[in-house]
Subunit: 415 residues, 2 copies
């Protein structure tokens, strides 16, 4: 089964307010095995609301959700637009008006103004639902096999009505199928795909696969509509085969995010980590501490932005800084080893690079970073060259640092 | 002039990934006076991409932006979908392939795999644009009076291409009008609105105002459609009046972001700052160093996550930690003063709080944070109580810390 979502609101199309309702509804629909194929945003305008509604209805979806534009003010058009798109007239509903009066009294302690009366008009044949947390009633109707739910735009009210409506929406088995999402780091999208294709060649017709690159991570999953139980079994076998073939790069069995995965590996070993980061300015520390309970394995960090800080806080020798430079393999090594020894932790991480703009030289361009990971038995240093703006480079540097930590910790298992 | 935005991606309609590109593009278009009337999301599917593209093209918009589905993998359909919707064939472009090879070599240091070749195919008549930050080229074509821009789905790449394309898009006068956006910190939305309303009561009918709260910042602007030059003048007078009435809280004249504003004030004074942050885990440092050139005023930071770190790195007395606790006014004060004295900078910032979940006590709930700012003449400590989840609290804490820095630096001017 399919669904479409139409969100009405000038504030949404102009980017002044971030969408909440479409995300909420699509997430809930997916949970029921219904595929939200269309999400359309239009401004508070009769013309666009009517055409957008008609277009979505023409797609023959099973469910059409409309949200927004049910308020009492002159820029609220949704009731009229839905009626017009369906060639119906608007009918006043005494019972709905009574529910609005009660809601108003409950919330504000006064009678509603006259302009709230428009909220009690619905397209003929519609069934209204009183609003338990605001004033505007929602309404439901059916047309050409599509069930239409028209809801207010306030996120809390959408959640309230979803609670009422979800019993009317079947939870499908064999509807939209989506496998577990596998997340990889330390391997590129096309490299991964090329190596993975032999495993995917025998997939049944009903299954498709997706690769999503995301700042140095690659996400992979299988999905499809009306996937038979047999094909779901095939999907799960494929997922298992992919997992075992790419285990060293696969971090999602350890957590939703890479920082969670790193944290879980550290916890398993009972290891503590400390950082000395320069160009990332605290971003690596911030990501590690995004994970609840990270105080169990994160000891501390040094944001050694100046050379003076590298020297006095971590003890990078002045000679190394002068001879090789602050951005060098040698400095990265001293940072990781120095911070590990100074703080007495099990594993140290050092990051030094050039986020840009500016600060580059012919031998050391913007986007260059050296990252070192060090434990009692070995230190690994790697050089990466990224090519983004400052924020993108900081993000890539922190991603590469967490990836190195993850792979370093994994390799001890794999080898 | 109008625009439409089509975003292709199963991860978007299924709510796995939040939209960034449509928000970005609509914001930028609005800044040029172009009204983004349609924003449509479809899955990685030929059928929906073709129908969605056709529908938007039929609306007769001046600009149609398409984003996503230009990758090298077999679930990337956008090139084919656009060609099919327009009844054109796909043509291989040698020059584009060369640009992909170069991009690939630059980023990964190797030749691209064969499956990247598909990224060099475009609908006949299209003009391609090489990708400066990724591999997939964008392309441009014109059809029935609509200029069509087809971009990759990676947000940074959309930003990159916008930088190239914006010269080709006119900036309109007399279309959608939006005033300068005023950004405030250190004052709440309703408090600001209440105090500002007298200044707004005489605004002409064509102008509307918006308050957008954003993690402790409040953004304010005036907007309207078909605003006469006379009314635009009134709008600008109102903006000037608001600016002068709320100057101490207004940071946008100093930069786009609060961290830029703080940086500019530090630069003006020739001051350097150092941090000792605990619960924010490096986020304050990361935000300060998001600003290009921040090495001119950011000396270093200490992520003093453990008590041991607070004690040994900053010298918070063990007695203070034992008696008042790590999350206390006293510890915050020692952090700010200690890091300032230790590093010899002009201004020190200390942050200590409970991001949660867990770690709270009856007297010290999750969301509690103490922040201290210290210069040679005084130390200011404030307590804040937020109510978010861990990531929200970290964000709120860092925002409060930057706000305190800003107000501290401003007050020296105002007083």
């Amino acid at each position: 089964m399919n669904a479409a979502i139409l969100c009405v609101g000038t504030e949404l199309v102009t980017g002044m307010v971030r969408d909440v309702n479409a995300s909420f509804l699509s997430h809930k629909l997916l949970g029921k095995g219904i595929f939200p194929k269309w999400i359309l945003f239009v401004p508070d305008s009769m013309e666009e609301t009517v055409s957008g509604f008609r277009f979505l209805l023409e797609q023959g979806v099973d469910f059409l959700f409309v949200s927004g534009g049910l308020g009492p003010t002159v820029d609220d058009f949704t009731r009229e637009a839905v009626a017009r798109a369906l060639g119906k007239s608007l009918v006043f509903c005494e019972e709905a008006w009574e529910s609005i009066r009660q809601a108003f009294y409950r919330i504000r302690g006064v009678e509603p103004p006259e302009n709230n009366r428009k909220q009690a008009f619905f397209p003929e044949g519609a069934r209204f639902l009183p609003n338990g947390v605001g004033t505007a009633p929602a309404f439901i109707l059916e047309e050409r096999g599509t069930r239409i739910f028209v809801l207010p735009g306030v996120p809390r009210e959408v959640e309230f009505f979803w609670g009422l409506l979800e019993q009317e929406i079947p939870t499908l088995r064999g509807g939209v199928y989506r496998s577990e999402v596998l997340k990889f780091c330390g391997i590129g999208e096309s490299q991964l795909e090329e190596k993975m294709l032999p495993l995917l060649s025998g997939l049944p017709q009903s299954l498709r696969f997706a690769f999503l690159p995301n700042y140095g991570e690659v996400w992979f999953f299988l999905y499809g509509q009306d996937v038979s139980l047999e094909d779901q079994k095939r999907a799960e076998e494929t997922i298992a085969a992919v997992k075992s073939a790419f285990m060293p790069y696969l971090f999602s069995p350890f957590g939703e995010t890479l920082e969670e995965a790193v944290g879980k590996l550290l916890l398993e070993r009972g290891w503590r980590v400390a950082l000395a980061e320069s160009c990332t300015g605290g971003l690596v520390g911030s990501r590690i501490t995004d994970v609840p309970g990270s105080s169990r394995y994160f000891e501390r960090g040094y944001i050694v932005y100046s050379n003076e800080a590298k020297l006095t806080d971590i003890g990078v020798p002045g000679e190394v800084l002068r001879h090789f430079g602050a951005v060098s393999e040698e400095t990265a090594r001293y940072l990781a080893e120095g911070v590990r020894k100074k703080t007495g932790v099990d594993i140290g991480l050092g990051v030094t690079g050039i986020a840009g703009p500016g600060g580059e030289s012919p031998e050391k361009p913007v986007g260059l970073v050296y990252i070192a990971v060090s434990d009692a038995s070995r230190t690994e240093v790697r050089k990466f060259q990224f090519r983004g703006d400052r924020l993108m480079n900081k993000r890539f540097f922190s991603q590469a640092a967490l990836t190195m930590l993850f792979i370093f910790l994994r390799e001890r298992d794999i080898r």
